[in-house]
């Protein structure tokens, strides 16, 4: 796979991509604004038939980072989309209507980080029990710093 060519194509196709970087061997990280998310996911999942792997989420200094991992099994590359959400407005569109398999992980991220996924078909708790206190999110930075 010609990665230089691929990066150029992506930049031409989707205007507004913030940064594209090869982080390690066969790993591409793409930072995008929220508005491009659904378009790229649709292009990857439906047109290029990349395999959905998982979504990671973390709380960093700048905001909540939601990282969508997709795998191109023909070339062995892992394509990662990184969307940064501000701390005061943790919400993003749900990709479950396109990628059916993402239903669980989006619910899990709701549990652990308190991100709101707009348009999720079943926005209920996945791992935490019903008596878990409202508004307690164990993966937030505040909790991490308290525990260190």
């Amino acid at each position: 796979m010609d990665i230089e060519q691929y990066i150029k194509e992506l930049k031409d196709k989707f205007e507004g991509i913030e940064k594209i970087e090869v982080i390690n061997k066969k790993r591409l990280m793409i930072n995008i604004p929220r508005r491009l998310l659904m378009k790229i996911i649709e292009y990857w999942f439906n047109d290029l038939e990349y395999r959905y792997v998982i979504v990671s989420a973390m709380d960093s200094k700048e905001g909540y980072e939601i990282i969508y991992h997709f795998s191109d099994d023909k070339s062995g590359w892992i394509m990662n989309l990184n969307v940064l959400l501000p701390h005061d407005k943790p919400e993003i569109e749900s990709i479950t209507p396109i990628v059916y398999g993402a239903e669980w992980i989006e619910r899990e991220i709701m549990d652990i980080l308190g991100i709101k996924f707009i348009g999720h078909p079943k926005p209920e708790r996945l791992f935490f029990s019903e008596d878990w206190p409202e508004g307690e999110y164990p993966y937030r930075r505040k909790i991490r710093q308290e525990n260190r």
């Binding site: 390690n24 998982i54 990671s56 990282i67 892992i78 398999g101 669980w104 029990s129």
Partner: protein, 403 residues
């Protein structure tokens, strides 16, 4: 048309790797919808990893699953080593591949045995588990443990395999090969098994893509993916082996893929052992520190791709460690494979993607949706599945259906 009933499978069930709760909505015998609840066994491992050093995380992730206890360290090692770009010595690569493939052999044999039990073929269960036993003994000789091997470390492995052990292992493998051939022949040629397993719990290639399912579940539906070939790690790109796929997507195809994969694994180990005898060198590369960065590693576990995402800030422990086990994407496919089938097939379709069987607590009960009265328990559900096999056998002997 009977009344719509709900059949709960779980939270503790012999078919499920960890406590999970499936609700089957049934109309008579047919499953019309399915729901799942999970989280009964959420241990917060990702969070625990954040408080351990990079070296200690190996022993934490090893305990995610008792059966594929090498695949998580494998993927984690690939992730962490990719941050500074460490190239591990060939000898370490070979030993890693040997442990990984031995695990596949024992895990697949375990699944075949249990699948045999659920359909009422206890002979298959006894055989498969008997042949699996020497593999576990070999694990003990090579690694010191039958499970949770603690073989991996950053930059290589912790124990060497000397020539004497290599010969022992080769001898055991030759024996396992012969016995598994016998078992495969018995399973593949049995007309009752063909009638019982074909067309049950079918997943199409589109279902696999929608859910992102991996491993033997995907390969049984004709989706040709295998991380060992597509994104090679350890010594897999140096060896001669092939990816097994099957068409059909049913339980039979999944059994076929797993049985044939066992032979490929044995082939891989034999090649590794030969190379190991020639290759004298270190088993561990020197690693100073893990710099700031992101590492993404994956490994092909017996059940499919394991995915680890590690973010380091230059300190001595990960700031974020995301783990995705194959069952996380394979379990939701139950919704496709069970709906439209009968309750007696649902048990089998749930078992077909091979969620591991660590948990020994068992509790499955069927309740009448309206009265709340218990109508079935776990033993009865398995019996229901076994009864169907008996019926097929009886019909076959009368000549009503053909295998």
């Amino acid at each position: 048309m009977g009344k719509k009933k709900i059949v709960p499978i779980g939270p503790y069930h012999p078919l499920l790797e960890e406590p999970e709760f499936f609700k089957l909505y049934c109309d008579g015998e047919t499953v019309v919808d399915m729901e799942w609840e999970t989280g009964y066994n959420h241990r917060g491992i990702e969070k625990i990893c954040e408080s351990k050093t990079f070296e200690q995380v190996f022993y934490v992730v090893e305990r995610i699953c008792g059966i594929c206890s090498t695949s998580h360290p494998f993927a984690y090692a690939n992730a962490v080593e990719s941050i500074p770009g460490i190239e591990i010595p060939l000898r370490a690569k070979l030993i890693r591949s040997i442990v990984g493939e031995l695990e596949r052999v024992h895990s697949h044999l375990l699944w075949v045995g249990l699948a045999g039990h659920f359909i009422g073929y206890n002979t298959v269960f006894m055989w498969a588990w008997k042949y699996r036993e020497p593999v576990l003994d070999m694990f003990e000789i090579i690694t010191g443990n039958r499970n949770s091997y603690a073989m991996f470390t950053i930059g290589g492995v912790r124990r060497d395999i000397d020539d004497e052990k290599a010969d022992m292992l080769q001898k055991v493998l030759d024996d396992v090969q012969k016995k598994t051939e016998l078992l495969t022949g018995a399973v593949m040629d049995d007309p009752v098994l063909h009638a019982r397993l074909k067309g049950v719990g079918v997943l199409t290639a589109k279902d696999i893509h929608d859910f992102g399912a991996v491993g033997p579940t995907a390969r049984a539906s004709g989706v040709d993916i295998d991380i060992r070939r597509d994104d090679p790690y350890a010594a897999y790109d140096l060896l001669d082996w092939k990816v097994i796929t099957a068409e059909g997507g049913d339980v039979f195809a999944k059994a076929e893929v797993r049985l044939l994969e066992t032979f490929e694994s044995i082939k891989i180990i034999s090649q590794c052992l030969k190379m190991l005898k020639k290759e004298k060198g270190d088993i561990k590369a020197k690693v100073k520190e893990i710099p700031e960065g992101i590492g993404i590693g994956r490994a092909e576990a017996p059940r499919g791709e394991v995915f680890h995402f590690v973010k380091s800030d230059g300190g001595n422990s990960p700031v974020r460690h995301k783990i995705r086990a194959p069952s996380y994407v394979c379990i939701p496919t139950f919704r496709k494979s069970c709906v439209g089938g009968t309750i007696s097939d649902a048990t089998l379709a749930t078992a077909a993607v091979d969620p591991c069987y660590c948990c020994t607590e068992r509790m499955t009960q069927a309740y009448d949706w309206k009265s709340g009265k218990q109508v079935m328990n776990a033993t009865e559900l398995i019996k229901l599945s076994q009864k169907k096999t008996e019926e097929i056998k009886a019909k076959m002997s009368e000549g009503k259906i053909r295998g």
